[in-house]
Symmetry: D2
Subunit: 362 residues, 4 copies
């Protein structure tokens, strides 16, 4: 029941979708860190709903209000808390849903966990909206990481069965490319796939249905020697955070599940000294991490995002108060595909995880 995470950087997350406010407290930030608030707002806008026809029309400004730990544009070193008011909450939409358990949503498990006391309005504390403060925290961590030369980017690896190229297929990914992806609704290495993906999402929307996809996240400029063996491995840390994001059902690093089809002699990433006498590997099947620790190549991982559970289509379920099977048709605002909005969230948790690990030293 805890909203607290972290060792060197400690987060405390709170809020419910239709409560007064959602927010986060960040502990452990270096004192005197200058924060460019415009960059923070860019990240938050990437996640915010209502930015295009591909997402839910619920519109909120989602402007964070910083309450503490920040003075004259810099962190003070004390806990930094930001809140976001919930303003556009149409609670009546949800009032009938208290006892009818929506399939694929946290209604039933949440009710069992909290003995029926959880705020059920708009999924309450389980709402994807609670990722907004995570993006805020991640945006600050990104600025700390940038000072260390570390940059995080991501693209859509697939929507439904339509696949983009992989990061590992690119000869080089520049910082400009990473920056450009932020302005794209559908950031793809292969832009020719864009129209098909767009059409697939609109089609699902028109059917009152939804589609999922895969996000590929990558980290450039991460030096060798960060992370730990066993419990605090880089993979453990990032996977822990990635699975905190609602709707994620899988994660794989480097070549991932496909590495199981390689021989050891193919899978091993051979080291060499490059022309600048820097240590590199010829392949990156391990996605930048071996033994839980970085080896100086980009970190790469892919996360499976399930199709949004909120759909208009009629579904079979139960009415738990009546103890009977029931039918369900939910009107209201729905995202036909949340993959584009999940990208900045996954970048944010990556930034958070790496900041925690890097504060722990190499």
């Amino acid at each position: 029941m805890s909203g607290i995470w972290g060792k060197n950087l400690e987060l405390s997350l709170f809020g419910e979708s239709h409560g007064d406010a959602i927010g986060i407290t960040i502990n452990g930030l270096t004192p005197g860190l200058e924060i460019d608030m415009d960059k923070v707002l860019v990240e938050m806008a990437r996640r915010a709903p209502g930015s295009s026809e591909l997402t839910t029309p619920r519109k909120e400004k989602d402007l964070p209000e910083i309450l503490s730990g920040f003075l004259d544009g810099k962190t003070t070193g004390a806990p930094l808390t930001a809140i976001i008011r919930n303003t556009n909450t149409r609670s009546k939409d949800y009032s009938l849903l208290k006892d009818v358990m929506r399939p694929g949503q946290a209604d039933y498990p949440g009710r069992m966990r909290y003995k029926g006391h959880n705020d059920h309005r708009g999924s309450g504390h389980f709402s994807g909206r609670i990722t907004a403060p995570i993006v805020f925290a991640g945006a600050i961590c990104k600025q700390w990481l940038e000072q260390k030369g570390v940059t995080i980017g991501s693209h859509i690896q697939s929507i439904g069965a339509i696949e983009d190229e992989r990061f590992s297929d690119q000869t080089e990914v520049t910082l400009e490319q990473v920056e450009a992806f932020k302005n794209e609704q559908l950031p793809l290495f292969n832009e020719e796939k864009k129209q098909a993906i767009h059409d697939l999402i609109i089609e699902a929307k028109d059917e009152g249905d939804s589609v999922g996809g895969v996000v590929e996240t990558f980290v450039l400029g991460i030096p060798a020697g960060y992370g730990n063996p066993f419990f605090d491995s880089v993979e453990s840390t990032l996977a822990h955070l990635v699975f905190s994001v609602p709707a994620i059902k899988g994660i794989e690093f480097g070549t991932g599940f496909d590495i199981t089809k390689l021989k050891g002699s193919e899978a091993n990433d051979e080291y060499y000294y490059d022309e600048n006498n820097e240590i590199k590997t010829r392949s990156n099947n391990n996605g930048g991490i071996i033994g839980g620790i970085t080896y100086g190549m980009p970190i790469v991982f892919r996360s499976a995002v399930k199709p949004p559970a909120s759909i208009k289509k009629k579904q079979q379920t139960i009415n738990i108060k009546e103890g009977k099977n029931a039918e369900l048709e939910v009107e209201g605002r729905h995202d036909p595909c949340i993959v584009p909005r999940v990208l900045p969230v996954l970048e944010a948790v990556t930034a958070i995880g790496l900041t925690d690990l890097m504060l722990g030293g190499s």
Copy 2:
């Protein structure tokens, strides 16, 4: 650099492959828990090397010695520590490898992390051997879980490209089946695949190479209402622990990456009351977990195990002391495939994670 994990159940792991001993301390066990030590040894034997031609010939008894927290066959409630002596350590095998970085192993990242002070002999603290104490701890947790009606099993999902059926394809998996799998070198739902898998492993062995695979782990009898939203979700907890196991590069829950190819209306697991008036879902695409919390259906996940990095084949790499590229041919004992030995480790971490979550209450 911490070997500590857990909130309600806290583990402290220690040891190096060629040091005096490896071990683990378990905090938070219910006082008065009777432990059947034979069952513990069965789990440890499943992980131990040397049990068949499929694994490394390094033979160790791996008998745990309990130092504290255990009296007259029961836990006392105080920290329970067990150690395993390292007896069959041929350090000379490894003495030449100090400066030549083996591809796919933790030699280089470990050296960067610990400034060259880490024990490099036999991978030191990074050795897969350190999972033996984890299996010990997991075996105790399994006995606690059994008292709650919770059983953990697993089978080989694939070796290389050869795939077994999935858990979700079975009409029912009985406790007898789970028990029988423990005695199998290659536990499979579809036994017809056994010979092909066996041959694939032997072929890799003969080539001085190695193969990987996928393990599917499942949890029967887990009630609804355990786990947490966000940071301490069931997926976060299990993934954190699973990625603590060396050689794991991916994890997916339920339908996993394939769920991204379904529509929301297909992916949502519809609830119904069964003939005993119990709440069930018709499908289990979410693998027993929604919103980070169990909903009473089996937990199911698959983990990608990379092919062992230790191979006999010649490889290109670097000599970091000389600052030059180098060639490497490693003689010695190698596992052509560690998947069968990883099964009990993944069951163990699953038991550990669920014990921690269940001690936290529902």
Copy 3:
């Protein structure tokens, strides 16, 4: 740099004296706990400034605004966050003090810790004002404890050299007595000392000086078997929290430092079965705790509160920017004695500590 505390109950504290708001997030509260907000406000009013001529005239309503985790008068089980706006902040009072280090205050150590980036206005994050959210959290824990039959009270043990009787000298302390103490500016077992204490405080105020004192806190109704040996002993837990309160310089349990003057045969608290066949001890020199665990007698401890460092009298110090010795005379609002306001803070941290320990089970 972390504002996070706790294992089973986890707090996250934030805020600076002259920032936008101060607040706290409470994790781990039982879902469905009904909270009487009037009782919470009573506790907060006890700590608030401006309530009598004995304290600082700075008046703030200090009304907590609950942002999350609370619905229809009950906890939801999700993190509960409350904030208190800073409204009556006269920042100009403090602007000259940035470089002149006030003796006895956190100016200099804080500046060293945070490299000069900490918010120095009104002591910033070091302000005693930050205890207001702690009192809020403690007030909620008190209500949970009351359901378990546990009550926390306190009185002024001494101001300067004027001493009240001890808890251990009373034949019985009733719940009515505990309640009545809450309405007293100067709660004392021996009311005859009240006038002398009042006069001592007013005298210090008139001199532009301040006085300290000792608070005795006691816990009624705590059952045997809570707490832990070594690191999470009841004493460790409570002392950790008590020393989190600014101005505390000592703590002693039971007979405390005086127990060192007793023989073992005098100090040992002998057990007996009372007329109701309950296990009691004839004395309570150990203050309700042995081996870090409660034994069913009241917990009793005394805390030393230093005289407030903020005084009007001229003091010698340094100007750290100029690198020179300097003189200091601080105008503004000062508390001549904070002991009465510290009582509810110490009760609050006691409630928080015991809730954490009791949630951990016996």
Copy 4:
């Protein structure tokens, strides 16, 4: 029920007095730290029983065996575990005591906490013997601190009513003095008190009784800027650890409880630049800590050690199995005074606490 402590330095403590072994795992030590094992053994010998007529005749070599994390005289960076075998355990001494609750000991609270499953032999996990591994860990931390110029010392402040001078009364305490104290059975600033203290202890021993005392611990060379406001203050951290030591009932920093009798103008420690342009304070009433953070003056605190509960004298108590009052006379080995043996334990926890805080940075 957890034996785990720490944030940056994490300890895991285990063992029971009459089990196979006791021990500790230390996480977070800097890799490559050279450890002088002779110095470690000196610290352990200071705590060990049987060294003079003043202590229990139980003799054990208490030699630590390092199992992991240590290679060629240096830390590897991996968890460092050491165990101490229990060899001289005369369990029969304790067999009759299972149901008769010894006053002042953890028998009854421990039995309630662990539902009767705790190892009761020789106090089991509650035994003072479990502090031996703490001294081991502290001795290593001391060597790390010495590299930073930080030295920890202590003396007997009082035994019964006989008092030594205070640290604050000394014009200077040299490193030689600190070292010399280690070789003293009764380290005192005023050596003239030694005979009287010796006689008091022997007298108690002859009576089958015991005496307590106060230990004063001091830290030289600690720079300004370590520690944190609120929950992780230096006082919170040290008090938490000090109250983990069995028999401690009070702690006070600087002038401690006596500061409550000073006016603010007397209590405030005024800053000045000394002849080397270093920032000092003229007094040190705050014991080196304000706002939870060091200010560059020595840390000073006193801890109250109760008289040992194990005495020969006849005592009244209960037989919990029979549910009746009972009489108790305990034969066996008893310490008439443990203060001399507690000194190195308190130095050890001070070293542990400061290492944790200093690893957290300033």
